[in-house]
């Protein structure tokens, strides 16, 4: 790779990375505005109280429900945006971040990541079923293990 080749490649890499960041910004910024309004109107406190039984089964607090839903449907980067913000505010514990990662890292953007395989002859329901069941099973097991042995640092907030 010559000098000009390197500069061209670097420029290409930067533009593509920039496009990715822009795509994140276009979703994360409006999402955060909506979240702030929902907090202002106390929708989250109401929602959290109602979702706690469901998320509790995974060892998560009710506060984790919204980042979980956003990540599962929109994608890891968008969900993680909410998770980073929530952990900085102390609304999520370090354990929440680990449980959410166990679930979301293998299973996020469930529509996009599933539909891209349809042209290859893959049954989308089967694919999503296997992926979601695997991620859920793993998360339930990890949540059990962490709940019973509760490693101290996992329960503290993330230092930043």
């Amino acid at each position: 790779m010559g000098w000009t080749g390197f500069v061209t490649a670097l420029w290409e890499a930067l533009t593509e990375a920039g496009t990715t960041v822009l795509a994140i910004a276009v979703i994360v910024i409006p999402l955060m505005v909506v979240v702030e309004f929902l907090k202002e109107w106390r929708v989250f406190d109401w929602l959290s109280a109602r979702l706690t039984p469901g998320t509790g089964r995974l060892g998560l607090s009710g506060n984790a429900a919204f980042p979980l839903a956003a990540g599962a449907m929109l994608g890891l980067s968008y969900g993680s945006g909410l998770i980073i913000d929530s952990t900085r505010e102390g609304r999520l514990t370090r354990r929440d971040a680990y449980v959410l990662t166990a679930l979301l890292a293998p299973c996020h953007a469930i529509f996009e990541d599933t539909l891209v395989f349809v042209p290859l002859g893959v049954n989308p329901f089967l694919l999503l079923g296997i992926r979601a069941a695997g991620a859920l099973a793993l998360t339930v097991v990890l949540a059990r293990v962490w709940q019973s042995s509760a490693p101290e640092p996992l329960n503290s907030s993330v230092r930043r």
């Binding site: 994140i24 971040a97 890292a105 793993l138």
Partner: protein, 140 residues
């Protein structure tokens, strides 16, 4: 917290985008240059014997490596010409939908305070286990 919800949301959105950009941009550039070297091809050759375990032909190695290092779209570009059967295509899809775009997405989970090893082991481990289950259960 005295500002309006709109101002707070915009500021937080920008802050979060910045945190993610710091993780995404450098990783993206490194992988972009790595893809231009013979490294990915070497990894594919090493992966070939492992693929037999999950019932895949050796030629599936390159799309899997591309998907894991880059993204699903590059992987699908490399997969389409292979004309895999329904079972093999499903196994590849299970592996890749579970574990893809690993450098960038792992950099993202690291920003959540989660260790790199945890993210990688969870995704790769689950991908392999699920692929083996499909391979063993699916009898054509």
């Amino acid at each position: 917290m005295t500002a309006s919800p709109l101002a707070r949301g915009l500021r937080k959105g920008l802050e979060t985008t910045w945190i993610l950009a710091k993780a995404v941009v450098p990783t993206y550039i490194v992988v972009y240059f790595l893809a231009k070297t013979p490294v990915l091809g070497m990894i594919s050759r090493l992966a070939t014997p492992l693929l037999a375990v999950v019932g895949l032909p050796g030629e599936a190695a390159l799309p899997l490596v591309l998907g894991m290092f880059l993204n699903l779209y590059s992987a699908i570009g490399a997969l389409a010409p292979l004309n895999l059967g329904a079972k093999e295509a499903t196994i590849v899809a299970v592996i890749l939908s579970t574990a893809h775009n690993l450098p960038v997405e792992t950099a993202v989970t690291r920003q959540m305070g989660v260790s790199v090893w945890f993210s990688l082991v969870v995704r790769l481990g689950l991908a392999v286990v699920l692929a083996m289950i499909v391979h063993l259960v699916w009898r054509v």
